[in-house]
Amino acid sequence: MNPTKAGTSARRGRFAVVLLFPALGLLAALVLYPVGYSLVRSLLDAGGQWTGLGNYLRLFTDSGTFTALRNNLVWVIVAPTLVTVVGLMFAVLTERVRFATAFKTVVFMPIAISFLASGVIFRMVYDQDPEKGIVNAVLVGLHDTFAPPSGYPDARPRPGEELSVIAGALTTTGTHAPGAPAALPLVGVKAGDVPASASQAAAPPPGSGLAGTVWLDFASGGGGREGVIDPGEKGLPGISVEAVIGDRVAATAMTRSDGTFRFAGLTSGGFRLRLPEANFAQPYAGVTWLGPGLVTPSIIAAYLWIYAGFAMVLIAAGLAAIPRDSLEAARIDGASEWQVFRRITVPLLAPVLGVVFVTLVINVLKIFDLVYILAPGSVQSNATVLALQLWNVSFGGGNDQGMGSAIGIVLFVLVLPAMLFNLRRFRREQR
């Protein structure tokens, strides 16, 4: 070989190294060193003393990390699939709607919102209180349309008095006979919840038939004797009262504005009086979305809202690249739209779907902020994922960065296959 040429190439090689040096330096400082040091740190305990594999041992025997691993598994199985499928649906459908661009923009918009902000938004969406949380507001609205709430949900007898709660209804312990008016005091009704039509409670006027009074045995500002109708205590109108003999309802009456009721037809015999449950049924309170049972599905739904647009845009781009003629050919051959979708579109899209899916898997494994923001403190341990666990043990109070590094390494190992998959794909595409 020509010596000059060899010299030139050697010089060029050295020159290349010099040019590469800044990039390599950055790479080493920002990627290699942190990864390497995490590995070292994971072998030290909280105080920096050598513990070997102690952290890993604790990690796999700790119930907290176990929950986190399980939740991560749920996330990886459910979230990427769901997001890819929904993204695919949106992409295919937007090909055919008129305002496709506008639609795509709207669906894509959430990804421009940070996880933190989305978390705050969904914290409100999922709020237990129907006055604040829109999901529960809708549920309660629907429910109340079909089953209107009762008039006195909080009303209850004082303990140890005539009335006692039996299967939601209030029933007198003793029997009542015509001639002696029955006194049925209730408490627990907010003064503001008493209907405007209510007037001062009174004993029923003399007359024939079994009669009595249902009233709010609590005067505003306190005072008043228990079980006795005092001035300032209002009757509770609109309560249905049943006279029961054995298991049979003998008659039904409704209280008037002063709380009195009368069964004119019952002139003799002893009856127990019952105020049916319908008077007091608790209002439907919606679903505890962020309770221990539903918290992970709820957070995944929020994730879907954020990432569906991302999947849609990537898939739509892939869709645009599909050769139209093969679709046309299939249609001419008599394939139905569903067959075209299943046999032509999806297989041709497979590479794109794969990239979207794997990207989402990586993303989902690292999920942190959404869970951290959305899960209330009391259920955070039910919703926890590895990244959150990592933060908690190292900074969120645990102050054990050794353990945190160990979780980080485990997370890294879990993400690795997905990354290798993506890398291999990129390399294949470059060839």
């Binding site: 907010k190 503001g192 306190g222 009391s378 341990s381 102050n399």
Partner: protein, 439 residues
């Protein structure tokens, strides 16, 4: 741990050569020449405060400068002061003074050898201004390190005056049975859930427990349990949890526990003091006043008042609380002067004047408080004297007493949900064991 930090190597070596005392870094403007800098100099002070609280603290720094000529520079660390200071210490440039929001943090730094012990002047100033308990609370293993800049009171029960009037309760309940009776009366009067519990935040529950425990078990047991010298399976814990259960399991008084577990602290305050309240009582520390003022339409002192946490079985007045402790990280002489200054009634006066802070300084004139409510809170602290104790969960290793979703937080949340005393004790003991052994 120290080996791979190459970029700092050379600088550290130079510094070590210059002085055998390792830490240099800060005190940039310190004139190295003057052996006794009677006036002037600079000081960096790190604390978590921002906004209004920072402004209040700034008045102290300004006053200190006027008195001594030392320019103190304030550094806000954000909420995660432990991590920020830890990093700075590792990097060799801690601030001169750190104001730590948790007593446990002081112990942590002291044991790691990061703190400078307080001078005799500081010790004398603390002794002059505070009850003897405060010297103890500022010390780690018998050495005084810290001065308590403020003291907060977590033995306050806040109530809606309108609801009490409506229910005809004229006297604030002073004992536990009176307290339960008042809640029952409120319930009768139509308050849906008389006592609002913010169970989504575990720390609210630990505060409940501590106030009940210190009253049922006494100060001595409280100190032991805080150090985990008695186990959580102790009968005194059983008694306290049973007392709590008497309230927490009563749905007429606290509502559905599952709902309480969804309510965070601000929500629990809003439940009692918003325009459409469903509750009438919130137990938490003096900072409830701030939450009421900032997020509801109620006016503290008129619509919202407080009474001391009720006495249980004739327990004497005790206050469970917290505070911010100032400690010195460097040998900067101005640090010790600043600590001594913080112990003076003049500093305490500036601290409380801005509102939002209360002080345990007994030399402080109560007239310095800007309003009646904070004056009462402060006087309750001073009146408790040596019956002041720190929030137990703040003293515990944070893995047990300070981590969202685990340890004591989680165990008491489970207790609120399930009301199982034995199970709660077992779980608390298991978690405590793991956390205290790892310390």
């Amino acid at each position: 741990m120290r080996t791979p930090r190459s970029p700092w190597h050379t600088r550290a070596a130079l510094a070590a050569a210059a002085s055998l005392i390792a830490i240099t870094g800060c005190s940039a403007g310190e004139p190295g020449a003057g052996p006794s800098p009677s006036r002037g100099g600079t000081l960096t002070v790190a604390a978590v405060w921002t906004g209004k609280e920072q402004q209040t603290f700034q008045t102290l720094l300004d006053d200190f400068k006027a008195r001594t000529g030392v320019t103190a520079e304030y550094v806000a660390t954000g909420d995660d002061i432990a991590a920020v200071l830890g990093t700075k210490i590792q990097g060799g440039s801690p601030p001169d003074i750190g104001v730590l929001p948790q007593p446990g943090l002081m112990g942590q730094f002291a044991k790691a050898g990061n703190l400078k012990s307080a001078s005799a002047d500081v010790a004398a100033a603390v002794k002059a201004g505070y009850g003897s308990i405060w010297t103890e609370l500022g010390s780690v293993d018998g050495t005084l390190y810290g001065v308590w800049v403020d003291a907060s009171n977590k033995s306050t029960v806040w109530y809606r005056t309108g609801a009490f009037a409506e229910a005809g309760i004229t006297r604030a309940p002073a004992t536990w049975p009176e307290f339960l009776q008042a809640a029952q009366t409120l319930s009768d009067s139509g308050v849906t859930t008389p006592v609002s519990i913010g169970g989504a935040d575990g720390w609210t529950l630990t505060d409940w427990f501590e106030n009940v425990y210190i009253r049922t078990a006494g100060l001595e047991n409280y100190d032991k349990l805080a150090k985990h010298q008695i186990p959580w399976t102790d009968p005194t814990v059983t008694a306290a949890l049973d007392t709590l259960k008497g309230l927490w399991s009563n749905r007429a008084l606290v509502g559905d526990p599952a709902k309480a577990l969804q309510a965070d602290f601000p929500t629990s305050v809003a439940n009692a003091f918003s325009d459409r309240p469903t509750s009438a009582i919130v137990y938490e520390g003096s900072f409830v006043a701030g939450a009421i003022a900032s997020s509801t339409g109620s006016k503290v002192g008129e619509d919202a008042k407080f009474f001391p946490f009720p006495s249980i079985n004739d327990s004497p007045p005790v206050v469970v609380g917290g505070g911010n402790v100032a400690v010195a990280f460097t040998d900067n002489p101005a640090s010790q002067r600043f600590l001594a200054y913080l112990a003076t009634p003049e500093a305490a006066k500036l601290m409380v004047a801005g509102g939002g802070f209360t002080s345990a300084n007994k030399a402080l004139d109560a007239a310095a408080y800007p309003d009646e409510t904070s004056r009462q809170i402060g006087q309750q602290i001073v009146a408790a004297g040596d019956n002041f104790r720190f929030d137990m969960s703040d003293l515990a290793p944070s893995a047990f007493g300070g981590t969202k979703g685990s340890g004591e937080f989680k165990d008491l949340q489970d207790f609120l949900a399930g009301q199982d005393v034995q199970a709660a004790q077992r779980q608390l003991e298991a978690d405590a064991k793991a956390a205290y052994s790892g310390q």
